[in-house]
Amino acid sequence: MQQAALRKLMPYLFLLPGFALFTLFVLYPMAYSLRVSFYDWNIINPTRSEFLGLQNYRDIVQDPIFQRAVRNTLLYALVTVPGQMILGLGVAILLNQKMPGQTFFRTVYYLPVITSWVVVTLLFEYLFNSQAGLINYGLQQVGLIDKPIRWMADENLVMVPINLLGIWKGVGWTAVVMLAGLQGIPTELYEAAAVDGANALRRFRNVTLPLLRPTLVFLVVVLTIGALNVYISGLLITNGGDPLDRTHFVLTLMYQETFDNLEFGRGAAISYLLTSLIFVISLVQIRFLQREVDYA
């Protein structure tokens, strides 16, 4: 009897430490910030906070700076997700060939993934420096431009380095996941297709792509979530919004409202709006992209 009770209890005891940490550091802060988002939160003296209901949410949705931040963020996702997918697939296919130095190249393509965002962002800032940057120097040397481009000073041009960085940093990881997917495709299918007279392009279109579908769907969803959370590169390159709050991403604006302007209520509301946006987009993607893979 005692032993049976213990046996029932055991799994929960093992779960308890992890769940306690999860509650303390994830669930509790999430619930707390949901509460904060309904208030004009007073950080020095929270008991003096004024309850506003949904006012924070209404204000933010109508704020042109927020609308622009959402546009910048969606554009970043629209550019970097396909960018990473296409280049990642190319790299994965190359890495999937039997060739000398395969391990070396896998390492090389994965290097950007494991480097720190801060370091590579600073590196891109140097590359795109308007007066001393390598990019302007190169463009001038080959005669494509006659005056240096002021990348960081222009609200639209500054998106070029930020988006390129997003693609460059993510290709390695995307390629590794795709490589795993590619290696899961049975070779018999390629042999059978070859016997049926399919050339390389046909084999790619009719064997590789359909069988890679679950991997691709997974990547689209995960990369989109990552792209909507773009933060470090924006914060460092544009100082979070420079010039004139026109280059914000949702998270840099959230940070500014919270820690610069000390509007904790607005900041919390922005993070919940972003969460809802990600939730809806992910649901739509999964709903429309996922299909059973048919080996028959």
Binding site: Q3, L6, R7, M10, L13, F14, L16, P17, A20, L21, I43, I44, E125, F128, N129, S130, Q131, A132, K147, P148, R150, W151, M152, A153, V158, T238, N239, D242, P243, L244, F259, D260, L262
Partner: protein, 412 residues
Amino acid sequence: MLRRFALLITALALMVALVPALPAAAQDTVTVKYWHTLSDSETEKLDELISMFEEANPGIKIEASRYAQNANEFRQVIMTALASGDPPDVIRMDIAWVSEFADLGALVAMDEVIPDFDTYKEQFFPAPLQTNYFAGHYYGLPVSTNTQVLLYNRAQFEEAGLEVPTTINEFVDAACALSNGEERYGYAMGGTYFWAPAPLFFAQGGSITDPEVTTADGYLNSEASVAAFETLVNLYNDGCMSPNLLGGGIATDAGHATDLYSMIIDGPWMVSIYEANYPDFEVNFALVPAGETGTSSVVGGEDAVLMDGSKHQEEALKWMQFLASDEAQIVMADAGVIPTLSGLTGNEALPEYFQIFMEQLETANLRTPSPHWNEMDNAINNAYQYMLRGEKTPQEALDDAAAEIDAMLSGD
């Protein structure tokens, strides 16, 4: 059964291990936490000060934390510490922030904890002392003061046969004469935040609000203020001022030391920065070029403030008074920190180049002492950006900024 028990014990042990260690038993020494944003060479001097202080005050330990010199970041760190109820004991903060933090109720008034404060305060220069004044009380001790002056590249001026400018008109002419298209610029400004244009703005008679800080209308958008910004915008449009102020270019200090920028306007700390990074570079100072009302500049500096949440106020105050003392200020002067004690004027231990900064300080203006200063700075920064981008004329941009600031001020 036994094995299960072993597992259970392991699980329990793991849980115990995750409980944070209990705080160590209280010790006899009191630790005073001191936050600052000193530079490399200044931090070396601070270490000297800490040893001096700890030797003279056994039982007090100073735990100094250095933060990035990015103003916004430091403000956020302080705010977050206040929000979490765990502020340090003493902070060395920008003189422009004291009213904001005093207004938040985060600071202890010096006149309430220092006996004979009325006589004690007499030893400081009036302007740095004044930056601690808010709503009838003094909320800090001035520990450093500074201002910005003109730095010029003597060789380039001689080569071009130009005199060092003493008036705004001469300055504009020299800046344009020393610029050559896209590589070399006669003048470079560090950014668009108010501190950067402030010396040339004040020298041309610009102002932000009335002396009582009740309105910006008629001040920030006055004829003189608009003309001051027009001068700067024209310099930029004519290619006589580096585009680096809009971001993504070569920083003013590096550009000046590498002969790319003939003139910059900056503070006394540049001497030790150049000594460390460009030991061969010759630094030349001159007064900020004068407008119709004479030369002017902007007063900077730091005040040491005692945090309301400090649990060791007595010891913290001792440390603050040490920082404001003769001996401490002479040590810091070695790293380019100008003293706030009037008794040190002409002291032989002070570096010679302080002379020009002391002279400039005589006519330098304070940034508006207001709890809203941070937002006001932001409004002026945005106005300047609109002008440089050609999206608004200086008059329009400053009219809008004045209206924005008046809305903040009337909210009180």
